[in-house]
């Protein structure tokens, strides 16, 4: 596969056929809940529903979800600890309500991250990018982003192969050689990217490219029950959170 596990999951997800707008609404609602509701129990409910929906009906492999969330978790942990350590008069100590503040901060961030991952693991970029047109993003920008999405896999492939070839020829055996190889690697990928763009230009001219790269979005009709879920779940989480508080 491609090595980008989130992308692989998005294309294989059971929710791939759902309208991207529907999924966007649901996830935006969850992110908003994570951001504005009191973290207890709001963040817990958001994170719980995002994970349950992803692993349950959307059938995202648990391993993928876990792998994807590792990196943000590391940032959240370091960031939250740094935020609640207090430096006063040169000494380090814990801020008065450190544990509670760190918990709140981490809770919000984990919930928000899980909600975004729910979107990312169920919706490929080529479904999401056309949605940007609805947000009045100019067509040229959406087209550039679409080409970026296609080419980054082509270039990642080149990157992997060039690096493997360099490694086989001992190019990464010492830090000094590694830097030299990395510079050659970056230059190789840059020239490949220019070459790709130039060749693609020739390839697309024959298919009538005159003004832009207009394509037809993959047809995915909106579903009323799913829209209802997208509206009621965040509202429900908000209601429960406010009642419990």
């Amino acid at each position: 596969m491609t090595g980008l596990v989130v992308d692989d999951a998005a294309w294989a997800s059971a929710w791939r056929g759902r309208a991207p707008g529907d999924k966007l609404l649901l996830c935006a609602g969850l992110v908003a809940c994570a951001l504005v509701l009191p973290p207890w129990p709001g963040a817990l409910l958001v994170a719980g529903s995002a994970v349950a929906l992803a692993l349950g009906p959307a059938r995202v492999p648990a391993g993928t979800f876990l792998r994807a969330i590792r990196w943000p978790l590391a940032f959240i942990a370091v960031g939250a600890v740094t935020a609640v350590v207090s430096v006063d008069g040169g000494g380090l100590g814990w801020a008065p309500d450190a544990a509670e503040r760190a918990g709140q901060l981490a809770g919000r961030a984990v919930a928000g991250t899980a909600a975004v991952l729910l979107l990312a693991t169920t919706t490929p970029m080529s479904d999401l990018l056309p949605q940007l047109r609805r947000l009045r993003v100019p067509a040229a920008v959406v087209e550039i982003a679409s080409v970026t999405y296609r080419l980054l896999f082509v270039l990642l492939d080149s990157l992997g192969t060039v690096r493997e070839a360099q490694t086989a020829r001992m190019g990464w055996s010492t830090p000094r050689r590694s830097y030299r190889s990395a510079g050659m690697l970056a230059a190789a990928v840059l020239t490949r990217s220019w070459d790709r763009a130039r060749r693609m230009q020739a390839g697309l001219a024959g298919r009538g490219m005159e003004t832009g790269l207009r394509v037809l979005s993959d047809a995915q009709p909106s579903s009323r029950p799913f829209l209802a879920l997208g509206l009621t779940l965040p509202v429900g989480i908000a209601a429960i959170t406010l009642v419990v508080r």
Binding site: T2, L204, D218
Partner: protein, 281 residues
């Protein structure tokens, strides 16, 4: 889709700063023929195909459709593209979208068709190429052979009268070659003329109705048996003679094959051989 004759004559073409790749090349592609364009790597096959498709403007000479010369204006090229479509060798040069369906929709949309017509064309093209099951898959997860067929579908969706394919079978294994040839046969039934460039002489003999060899910057065109049996021409073109002609000629000398046209592939050779062992003197 009416059928058109694509032709070129007196073509001089090349790239800035180098000697011309083609110099006085002429070729004629009558409707509904299977033309194999043969030549070694670097002989000028791709340059010829690019001239025929309008992508490259020759320095001299003319490309004609039914005798009408192609003009390299925006309008002339637009009309030409609806008649002739070229598919390049490397599918990654033509697949710019991560979604197979979106990619194939690009050409028909550029023709100004409405949404439902475009969807119908996309479905038809994917079906003809036998890749309809890939519609929902991302381009970057496809194998090389699958990407090649999707790139052809992108051209087929424009419904050209003539389809020019640059090395459509290069790098494919036998199964993928068979799938591609089957798809090309469906396209022909669907009234498209197919031109394929290749350096596989055995494939050309098996597949083509007519063969054109790019040699010494010009083109020699004729029936497959004649061209592919011409050892001197093939040597000049840095190509091999198809084994079945070499072996067939010898077997005919041995009295095992009837006079006349030699078989063109293994199956036909086996069928033409006598059933029972000959009594050897």
């Amino acid at each position: 889709m009416s059928h058109r004759t694509l032709a070129a004559s007196g073509l001089v073409a090349g790239y800035p700063g180098t000697a011309p790749v083609l110099d006085g090349a002429a070729v004629r592609i009558p409707p509904n023929r299977r033309l194999a364009l043969l030549g070694a790597n670097g002989s000028g096959k791709t340059t010829l195909l690019r001239c025929l498709s309008g992508a490259l403007r020759p320095v001299a000479g003319a490309v004609t459709v039914d005798g009408e010369p192609l003009t390299h204006t925006r309008r002339g090229l637009r009309a030409h593209r609806q008649v002739v479509q070229l598919v390049l060798q490397d599918p990654d040069d033509q697949l710019f979208s991560a979604s197979v369906g979106q990619d194939v929709s690009f050409g028909p949309l550029n023709l100004g068709l409405d949404e439902s017509a475009v969807r119908a064309r996309v479905a038809e093209a994917l079906d003809l190429l036998g890749v309809d099951h890939l519609a929902a898959r991302p381009t970057h997860q496809l194998s090389y052979g699958e990407r090649k067929r999707v790139a052809i579908a992108g051209a087929v969706a424009m419904r050209p009268c003539l389809l020019l394919l640059d090395e459509p079978t290069a790098g494919l294994d036998p199964t993928a070659v068979a799938d591609t040839l089957a798809a090309l046969a469906r396209l022909q039934e669907h009234d498209s003329t197919v031109v394929m460039s290749t350096h596989d002489v055995d494939l050309a003999l098996r597949w083509a109705d007519e063969v054109a060899v790019v040699v010494d910057r010009a083109v020699v065109q004729g029936p497959p048996e004649e061209i592919l049996g011409n050892t001197r021409l093939l040597r000049r073109a840095r190509l091999d003679r198809p084994w079945v002609l070499t072996v067939g000629a010898r077997l005919r000398e041995l009295g095992l094959l009837a006079p006349g046209a030699l078989p063109r592939d293994t199956d036909r050779l086996l069928a033409a051989l006598p059933e029972a062992p000959a009594v050897r003197s």
